[in-house]
C-alpha cells in the first residue's frame, strides 16, 4: 500500500462530499496501517475459483409483473417533513449561479 499523506485523505473525503480534520487524518493513517496488516491476512486465504458471495441466499424473490399503482404517498404527507414549501413543491436554496 502506498504512503498516504494528508492531501490523499483530504481528497478522498472530499470525493465523498465531506471534510476531515487533521486529527481525523492522523487516526485514519493509523487505521490504514491496521487495514494493511489485515489485508495481508486476507491475501493469505486461497480464493482461487471461489465465486463472490453478494447476498446470503441466491434465490429469486422478485418477479416481473405489470405496472400497478401501489404504495403512493399523498402530497400533504410527502411535504409534511419538508423544511420549506413553495407552491406545493419542495423549496430548496438557490445554489446555481
Amino acid at each position: 500500500m502506498e504512503t498516504k499523506d494528508q492531501a490523499y485523505f483530504k481528497r478522498l473525503a472530499n470525493q465523498l462530499m465531506f471534510d476531515v480534520s487533521d486529527q481525523e487524518i492522523k487516526e485514519l493513517q493509523t487505521e490504514f496501517e491496521i487495514l494493511e496488516e489485515q489485508i495481508k491476512m486476507l491475501e493469505r486465504i486461497n480464493t482461487d475459483g471461489v465465486e463472490e458471495m453478494i447476498y446470503p441466499f441466491e434465490q429469486e424473490t422478485q418477479f416481473l409483473r405489470d405496472d400497478v399503482v401501489d404504495h403512493t404517498i399523498a402530497r400533504e404527507d410527502a411535504l409534511e417533513n419538508v423544511k420549506a414549501v413553495m407552491a406545493g413543491h419542495v423549496h430548496v436554496p438557490k445554489v446555481v449561479k
Binding site: F9, L12, A13, N14, Q15, L16, M17, F18, D19, V20, S21, E24, E27, L28, E31, F32, I34, L35, E37, Q38, I39, M41, L42, E43, R44, I45, T47, V50, E51, E52, M53, I54, Y55, P56, F57, T61, Q62, H71, I73, D77, A78, E80, N81, K83, V92, P93, V95, V96, K97
Partner: protein, 473 residues
C-alpha cells in the same frame, strides 16, 4: 416483563406505567431518544380484538425503524430532524397485532458500532451496572427489555448488534434468517448483512414475536416466501438425540475462566438432557479474517447506502454557496468522526484499482466462511458458543466494531450469522461477577424452531425465564 404479565383488562394503565418507568430510568440509562404519544394508538386498540397476539403490549423500536409522523434519527445528528412519512413494514405488523409503540430507542450512530457510545444523544448505560456499556448497536432496546420496561423491543443486527447487547444485558436477542422479517422502512447500514430482530425475556415471547413479525413483503426484494410457522405451538425442550456442535476455535479464544466455566456447566446440562454435544474445529485462518472481511464489506455497502444523506435529499442542511458546498458542510457536520472514517475505508475498497484486492476478495472469503458453517450444520442441528469473551466492559475498556488486531475470533464470531444469513440467537446463561453472560446458538436457514427449542431447554436449566433487573437509581 413477559407477555403473560400484561393485564389485558387495563391496557391503558399498563402502557402508561411502562412509559412512566422508562422516563424514570432515563437519567440512569439514557436509552430513549423519543417518547411516543400513545393516545391515538390506545383509541384504535379499543376497536381491536383482545385475542390478538400483542394486544395492548407496550413495545420499543430501535430508532432506525421508520415511524410515520414520529422523529426517527438513527441516533445521528444528520437525521436529527427526520420525520418519516410512512411506517416500516414491521411497524404495520406490530400495530396490526395490537402492540402499542411507546418509544424510539437509542443506538450507535446509523447502526455502525458495537458499544452504543456513539449515539447522538449520548451513551446508553448497562442496567446491571450503569458505569458499564450497554453494547450496541441496539443498546437502547436491549436495556429497556432488561430493565423490565417492555416485554419485547425491536433491534437490528448487521454484525452482532442484537446478540452482543443481549449477552451484556441478560436478555434474549434473536436475529432470524435473512429474509425472514422485512426490512422495508428500516434505515439501512449494509444491505447484504442487515437483519431485523428483537429482544425478549422469555423464549415463549420470542416465539410469539417472530410469528408476528415474519413473512413475505413485496416491498423488500430480499423478503422470503417461506411459510411462517406457529413457533410457540411447536415449542419443545426435549433434547434427546439433538446434535449440537461447539465451535472450539471460539471457546479456545476466550481467556476468562469464569465465562468458560459458565459455558461448560451448561454443556454438561445439555448432555444430561440427552443432547449429543461435540466439538468441531473450523479453519482458524478463515475465522481470523472475519473482522476485516466484515469491515470491508459493511463499510463499502454503508458508503453507498448513505450517499443520499447529503442535506438536500435527506438530513440536516447546512448553508453553502454551491450544491457541493451544501453537501460537504452538511455531511461534515452531520456525521461523527467515526462514521466519516468508515466511509473513507468503504469508499477506498470500492476504488476500481482496489476492488479485486479488497471488495471482491472479501466477498470470496465470505463464501468460504459460510461454507465452513454450512458444512458443520450439514451434520448438526445447531452450533453453540459463548456469545462474548467478557462481561459488558467499561467505556474506556470497550473495543468498538472497528479494526483491531486483538479479539479477532472471541469478539467477532457472531458475524458468521450475518455472512450466512442463518438464524442466530443469544440467550442468558447466568452471571459472572454479578454481570450477565450469554450463550449464542446458530441453526440452519429458516430453522428458528430449533433455536427456540434449544433456548427453551437452556431457559429451564438456568431458571432465568422472565429475568429483569431493578436499576439502582
Amino acid at each position: 416483563m413477559e407477555l403473560s404479565s400484561i393485564n389485558k383488562n387495563n391496557i391503558r394503565e399498563t402502557v402508561l406505567q411502562a412509559i412512566k418507568k422508562a422516563k424514570a430510568l432515563q437519567p440512569a440509562l439514557n436509552a430513549v431518544v423519543t417518547f411516543v404519544d400513545v393516545e391515538e394508538q390506545l383509541q384504535k386498540l379499543e376497536m381491536m380484538d383482545p385475542q390478538l397476539p400483542l394486544y395492548g403490549v407496550p413495545v420499543v423500536l430501535k430508532d432506525n425503524v421508520n415511524t410515520k409522523g414520529i422523529l426517527t434519527t438513527a441516533s445521528s445528528r444528520m437525521l436529527s430532524n427526520y420525520i418519516p412519512v410512512y411506517d416500516a413494514h414491521i411497524v404495520e405488523k406490530l400495530k396490526d397485532a395490537g402492540a402499542i409503540i411507546i418509544a424510539k430507542a437509542s443506538m450507535d450512530e446509523l447502526g455502525m458500532g458495537g458499544t452504543n457510545l456513539s449515539a447522538y444523544t449520548g451513551p446508553v448505560n448497562n442496567p446491571y451496572d450503569t458505569t458499564r456499556i450497554s453494547g450496541g448497536s441496539s443498546g437502547g432496546s436491549a436495556v429497556l427489555t432488561a430493565a423490565g420496561v417492555t416485554p419485547i423491543a425491536i433491534g437490528t443486527d448487521t454484525g452482532d448488534s442484537i446478540r452482543k447487547p443481549a449477552a451484556y444485558n441478560g436478555v434474549i436477542g434473536m436475529k432470524p434468517t435473512y429474509g425472514r422479517i422485512s426490512r422495508y422502512g428500516i434505515i439501512p447500514y449494509a444491505s447484504s448483512l442487515d437483519h431485523v430482530g428483537y429482544f425478549s425475556t422469555s423464549i415463549e415471547d420470542a416465539c410469539v414475536a417472530l410469528s408476528v413479525l415474519a413473512g413475505r413483503d413485496d416491498r423488500d426484494m430480499t423478503s422470503s416466501y417461506e411459510a411462517v410457522p406457529n413457533y410457540l405451538q411447536s415449542l419443545n425442550s426435549d433434547m434427546q438425540g439433538k446434535r449440537i456442535a461447539i465451535i472450539d476455535n471460539v471457546q479456545n479464544a476466550i481467556t476468562d475462566s469464569k465465562i468458560k466455566e459458565n459455558f461448560n456447566t451448561l454443556i454438561e446440562q445439555m448432555k444430561q438432557r440427552g443432547a449429543i454435544v461435540e466439538s468441531v474445529h473450523l479453519n482458524e485462518d478463515l475465522l481470523s479474517v472475519i473482522l476485516p472481511t466484515y469491515y470491508i464489506l459493511a463499510n463499502a455497502e454503508a458508503t453507498a447506502n448513505h450517499s443520499n444523506l447529503d442535506g438536500i435529499r435527506f438530513g440536516m442542511r447546512e448553508d453553502g454557496d454551491s450544491v457541493e458546498e451544501v453537501m460537504i458542510h452538511s455531511r461534515t457536520k452531520g456525521f461523527s468522526t467515526n462514521i466519516r472514517k468508515r466511509f473513507v475505508v468503504g469508499s477506498y475498497s470500492l476504488f476500481v484499482e482496489n476492488q479485486d484486492k479488497l471488495f471482491r476478495k472479501a466477498q470470496k472469503v465470505r463464501r468460504l466462511l459460510v461454507d465452513e458453517v454450512k458444512h458443520v450444520l450439514d451434520t448438526y442441528d445447531a452450533t453453540i458458543v459463548s456469545a462474548t469473551g467478557s462481561i459488558a466492559p467499561h467505556p474506556q475498556d470497550s473495543i468498538d466494531e472497528q479494526l483491531s488486531s486483538e479479539y479477532l475470533i472471541a469478539e467477532n464470531h457472531m458475524i458468521l450469522g450475518n455472512f450466512s444469513g442463518y438464524p442466530s440467537m443469544t440467550i442468558p446463561s447466568g452471571f459472572v461477577d454479578d454481570m450477565p453472560v450469554g450463550i449464542n446458538l446458530m441453526a440452519k436457514p429458516f430453522d428458528e424452531q430449533t433455536l427456540f427449542n434449544l433456548g427453551k431447554a437452556i431457559q429451564e436449566e438456568t431458571g432465568l425465564k422472565g429475568k429483569t433487573v431493578e436499576v439502582k437509581l
